[in-house]
């Protein structure tokens, strides 16, 4: 059931989904979005790709095993929580660094919370792909 149209479309979609997913991830703290939504969107892109080009191709495109991505994501999320220890705060206390902060503008925020959300993103992304790939490869 190879579809050239779908294959062609999916290549474009993977890129679009990924960009959009990262966008949703990064703006999630202020607008609808965040790690889950981002991760799910990114995964959906690759799922379409897997449906179009087969899981073998999708796995190659991904390069890492999806569950490894997810495991690393969980590690990141955990690290984001543990980071607080270096600042003598409780587990999962957000640590913030504002670059270029001025009195009016907070500048560019870098935070453990972002790391956490990226971890969420990776876990959701990797896990959903692992699930879908496994099912696709069944039989």
């Amino acid at each position: 059931m190879k579809s050239i149209i779908l294959i062609a479309g999916s290549r474009l979609l993977v890129a679009l989904f990924t960009v959009f997913a990262v966008y949703m991830l990064l703006r999630g703290h202020n607008q609808p979005g965040g790690g889950f939504i981002g991760g799910l969107l990114a995964a959906v892109g690759f799922v379409i790709y897997a449906i179009a080009c087969g899981t073998e191709g999708a796995r190659q495109a991904l390069r890492f095993r999806p569950t490894d991505i997810a495991a690393v994501g969980l590690g990141m999320a955990l690290f984001a929580g543990v980071m607080a220890a270096f600042f003598s705060d409780a587990f999962f206390t957000g640590q913030w660094l504002f670059i270029n902060a001025t009195p009016e503008d907070k500048g560019i925020p870098l935070s453990s919370v972002l790391i956490f959300d990226v971890g969420v993103f990776l876990v959701v992304f990797g896990s959903v792909l692992a699930i879908v790939f496994a099912l696709e490869e069944e039989v």
Partner: protein, 119 residues
């Protein structure tokens, strides 16, 4: 909306229970989805419902200027949806695997771990 939604949740629960009591494992899974949705909606409705005011702080303000929807139940529902997805996915794949292993989706015939002749 809360009363209407309460009724709707009741309908979802009734439908899901009916489906879960079926013999076919797929129907159980359909019921599971509905029941999960009903539970999520229960949390949502328990936090009361506010139309047209998402819990966002507008730019340039410290707090939402007027009443916004109850954010906590939303966060809980979100968490529950994702968890529910994980559990459901497992259950679904288990059904696939069960069909492969046991050759049936009829739960009445799934009697390997607890065979009929046992005490």
């Amino acid at each position: 909306m809360e009363p209407l939604l309460s009724i709707l949740i009741g309908i979802l629960v009734a439908g899901s229970v009916y489906l879960m009591l079926a013999r076919n494992l797929m129907r159980f899974l359909f019921g599971l989805i509905l029941l999960s949705n009903a539970a999520n909606l229960s949390i949502f409705v328990s936090g009361r419902m506010t139309p047209g005011a998402p819990p966002l702080v507008p730019d340039g303000m410290d707090v939402p200027p007027e009443v916004v929807a109850n954010a906590l139940p939303q966060a809980l529902v979100l968490t529950a949806i994702v968890i529910g997805f994980g559990l459901f996915a497992f259950a679904l794949i288990l059904a696939v695997r069960a069909y492969r292993s046991l050759g049936t989706l009829n739960t009445d015939e799934m009697r390997v771990a607890e065979p009929k002749e046992q005490g």
